[in-house]
């Protein structure tokens, strides 16, 4: 019984883990290296409004605004919808239907984002255009709505998990005191599940910020903050959409390229920070298949 | 490092020589900051049934689990001291733990059969050690199931899943599996605690037969069981060994007042 297999096994598992760590490091490093040009040469100019590479203007604020607004819209729609749906699934739905419904949710979560994009072009933008009598249905609002559908399964699944993690005894105690169902949920369950739910929302936020394909096709790709600022029926631009559209067209190594990489780096940092914070909110180990 | 002095050797029974096969010297264990075992000094005698008794929380399980070092991987346990198997320090750095565990086998409180057939369970501990012919495998399965008093009941269905057996049978299967590795010493941590009286009886009889070939060390809560089948007794309380010796002595003529109190009333304030 030699110790060799054990040794080899140990080397294998350690290297496997190191590879992942190295990859993350590489991603951050290379993104940083390639945005250095932009940071050093354009500097504060990156945080201006005008993006026009031929003139040497590399302001990313419009894209940042777009990303944030589209995400906010999607959360405004998806969070209430998702939490109420999760409450329904967790507390009201008969247990025998649960596996069926949860599987359905997982299937919904699995629809590729490009297909959402196609549906967005073919239907949502047409509806928005007709409903609001616009020139084109490719607006910030359209992107927000589409995005909300995409992050809905995440919120529902994780909130349902959060509610399920609350032990039965709290429900029984509250009901035993004569509380109505909604009071049970509001006073007994939600406070306990609050941490996990916040974590779920943060994760959904991260996903929404990082979504590219669907947003790219329906947002209109205009690199300006709309006038007035809250006109969501105007086209706009997000970081991801910009990257998706232009990165292939910009020359590697140019300032144009570098500024775009800077945008990507910014996005990456924001999303990673959100992910880390979300993990702090989760009390127990959660399953994350997305 | 204190050497074993005469005071650690148990008074020999009038007719037989006693050989200590395991010697525990100044053994201490901490769980986080709690001092669980305090300067334990005791020996376990070859080919006898050595029984460790004591109230809950006295450290019996911790002691027995220290003998095959199964607590090593448990977090937050630290230990200091000496345990010797046939004169060799089992806590020595150079020692091959996996080899140790083939010399000292362990049966746990809850039977844990692998999701395989009965025969495969028996062979589980040894088939990776060397290549066995089909004939050898059958022989090993039969011998060890017989030694564990299970052969009669399962000989015709060796390929059935092990978890189709009753709990008492599963525990005997675990014993057979441990015996198949051919250890010198058999450690049993409250092996009949989860079982009904009939299965308990069967395993008691089993142990009486096994002691001819193996040294048995077991932990129990059940004073009557200890009285029935043990040869030597170790009485622990609050992480210390209060008394140890021949069964007759401890039950009838204990040196320590608390020992006789516990063994008669099961009451111990220590």
């Amino acid at each position: 019984m030699s110790a060799l297999p054990g040794r080899v096994g140990q080397i294998y598992v350690v290297s496997a883990t190191l590879i992942s760590g190295v990859v993350i490091l590489l991603i951050i490093v290379f993104l940083f290296l390639n945005s250095w040009d932009a940071i050093s040469q354009v500097g504060g100019g990156l945080f201006t409004l005008e993006w026009h590479p031929p003139n040497g203007k590399y302001g990313i604020l419009s894209m940042l605004y777009g990303s944030v607004i589209v995400t906010v819209i999607s959360l405004v729609i998806a969070v209430p919808l998702g939490i109420f749906s999760a409450i329904f699934i967790s507390e009201i739905l008969l247990p025998k239907y649960k596996p069926f419904v949860k599987s359905l949710l997982e299937i919904l979560a699995g629809i590729p984002s490009i297909i959402y994009g196609l549906i967005g072009i073919a239907f949502f933008s047409v509806w928005v255009r007709d409903f609001f009598a616009l020139q084109s249905g490719r607006t910030i609002l359209t992107a927000g709505i589409l995005l909300s559908i995409m992050i809905l399964p995440t919120i529902v699944t994780l909130t349902d998990d959060a509610l399920r993690n609350v032990p039965v005894k709290y429900r029984e105690a509250a009901r035993g005191l004569g509380l109505y169902n909604y009071e049970v949920i509001k006073s007994a369950l939600l406070p306990i599940a609050k941490g996990d739910i916040i974590g779920a929302v943060l994760l959904a936020l991260g996903r929404a910020l990082g979504e590219t394909m669907a947003v790219m096709l329906v947002i209109g790709s205009i690199d300006k903050i709309p006038q007035p600022v809250f006109n969501f029926l105007a086209p706009g631009q997000t970081i991801t959409s910009k990257l998706g559209r232009e990165i292939a067209e910009s020359a590697f190594g140019s300032l144009h390229f570098s500024s775009m990489i800077f945008m990507g780096l910014l996005l990456l940092v924001i999303v990673l920070v959100l992910t880390v914070i979300a993990q702090l909110y989760f009390k127990k180990e959660q399953r994350l298949y997305e | 490092m204190k050497k074993l002095t005469d005071s650690h050797i148990i008074d020999p029974a009038p007719c037989c020589k006693t050989v200590p096969v395991i010697e525990v010297i100044d053994y201490n264990v901490w769980f986080r900051d709690y001092h669980i075992l305090n300067d334990i000094c005791v020996s376990f005698i070859k080919n006898k049934i050595n029984c460790i008794v004591g109230p809950s929380g006295s450290g019996k399980s911790t002691l027995i689990r220290g003998i095959n070092r199964i607590n090593d991987d448990a977090e937050e346990f630290t230990s200091k001291g000496l345990i010797q198997l046939n004169g060799q320090n089992i806590y020595a750095k150079e020692l091959d733990i996996t080899k140790l565990r083939t010399q000292i086998g362990m049966v746990f409180q809850k039977p844990c059969v692998f999701p395989k057939s009965i025969a495969q369970n028996v062979l589980f501990g040894i088939e990776h050690l060397r290549k066995l012919s089909k004939h050898e495998k059958l022989q090993i399965v039969e011998d060890n199931l017989k030694a564990a008093s299970l052969w009669q009941e399962v000989s015709y269905r060796l390929n059935d899943k092990a978890n189709s057996l009753s709990i008492g049978q599963q525990q005997r299967l675990c014993i057979a599996r441990t015996l198949a590795v051919n250890p010198e010493v058999l450690l049993l941590d409250e092996p009949t605690a989860s079982l009904d009286p009939v299965s308990t009886r069967a395993i008691d009889m089993l142990r009486l037969n096994l002691k001819k070939e193996y040294t048995i060390v077991f932990v129990t809560h059940d004073i009557l069981q200890a009285k029935r089948i043990s040869d030597y007794l170790v009485f622990m309380c609050n992480g210390q060994v209060l008394e140890h010796g021949h069964k007759e002595k401890l039950f009838n003529n204990a040196d320590n007042e608390q020992t006789s109190k516990y063994l008669s009333d099961e009451y111990c304030i220590c």
């Binding site: 054990g6 329904f88 629809i111 809905l152 994760l203 990489i261 | -």
Partner: protein, 282 residues
């Protein structure tokens, strides 16, 4: 009285929310199926595309997707498995545990476009591989590592401690405990994770659109460093020609095919999760 009313309101809102979600789901699936089915015929599935997809079929796109996901699976599985085993069996230090957890969840949260850009910088430019399907597989593989790791880890970690101790007491060293006791029982989680990971990889566009695919003139790659064409990127190209009716129609067809491929793996994954759960609970 007021409380009762609010309670009713609450029920109403929950039902409404669920109804909306169901409607959305039904709408999505129906749309894709209804529009896509018109395109599905043998010719569509088995001929090459023409006119940037506005004509012809999607045969090479299907092949491309399958090629990419097979190799992504091959590349990612060993790494993910190793990581899950490491985290479950080797890590004791709480700080290191947090660190590895950070690796997994960090990798999981990175947007897919960032993977695409990283691939563009690191492989296509720095390593000068050019547009290569193999590089695409590598990037996709890296992307799905967390999915597989998390699922595997869950199933290995939930094996009760007693199994490990029993095996150790029989004289198994750590690696033997892993290979002879934990992996056979925990393999279900690994397979589930792999299937779900493949489902995810099949549908991704952003990671591969810069580094692995080209839109025209591509059929079967002849070497590791040739580009390939795949369904998601093809759909993207078609979506951008949405005014062309034929292109749009082909887009629906390709979407339906892609959705079917993704669903096959997703459902298999869910299926294996159920199967393996019931056997370990015996």
């Amino acid at each position: 009285m007021n409380r009762r009313f609010i309670n009713k309101l609450f029920y109403g809102s929950s039902w409404t929310a669920v109804a909306v979600c169901c409607l959305v789901l039904i709408f999505l699936l129906l749309t894709i199926t209804w529009n896509g089915i018109k395109s599905i015929n043998i010719e569509f599935l088995f001929t090459a595309s023409k006119n940037f997809g506005a004509g012809g079929g999607i045969f090479y796109q299907i092949l491309g997707t399958i090629l990419l996901i097979i190799f992504a699976a091959i590349i990612s599985f060993p790494i993910a498995l190793g990581m899950a085993i490491f985290r479950s069996e080797y890590l004791k230090n709480p700080l290191l545990k947090k660190l590895v957890e950070a690796f997994i969840y960090g990798l999981n949260g990175i947007p897919s476009i960032i993977f695409g850009i990283f691939g563009l910088i690191f492989f296509v430019n720095v390593l000068n591989t050019g547009i290569s399907w193999f590089v695409g597989s590598i990037v996709l593989g890296i992307m799905i590592i967390p999915t597989i790791t998390l699922s595997t880890y869950q199933s290995i970690n939930s094996i009760p401690k007693i199994y490990r101790e029993t095996a150790q007491a029989l004289g198994f060293n750590r690696w033997q405990v892993i290979t002879r006791v934990l992996l056979p029982q925990g393999i279900g989680g690994a397979i589930t994770g792999l299937l779900l990971g493949i489902a995810r990889a099949a549908g991704e566009t952003a990671p591969i659109m810069f580094i692995a695919t080209a839109f025209s003139g591509v059929d079967v790659p002849h070497s590791l460093f040739d580009p390939v064409t795949a369904l998601p990127t093809h759909i993207l190209a078609l979506a951008q020609q949405a005014t062309n009716k034929q292109a749009l129609q082909n887009g629906w067809g390709a979407s339906l095919v892609l959705l079917c491929i993704v669903m096959i793996f997703s459902i298999s994954g869910l299926f294996t999760r159920i199967i393996f759960k019931t056997t370990t609970e015996r």
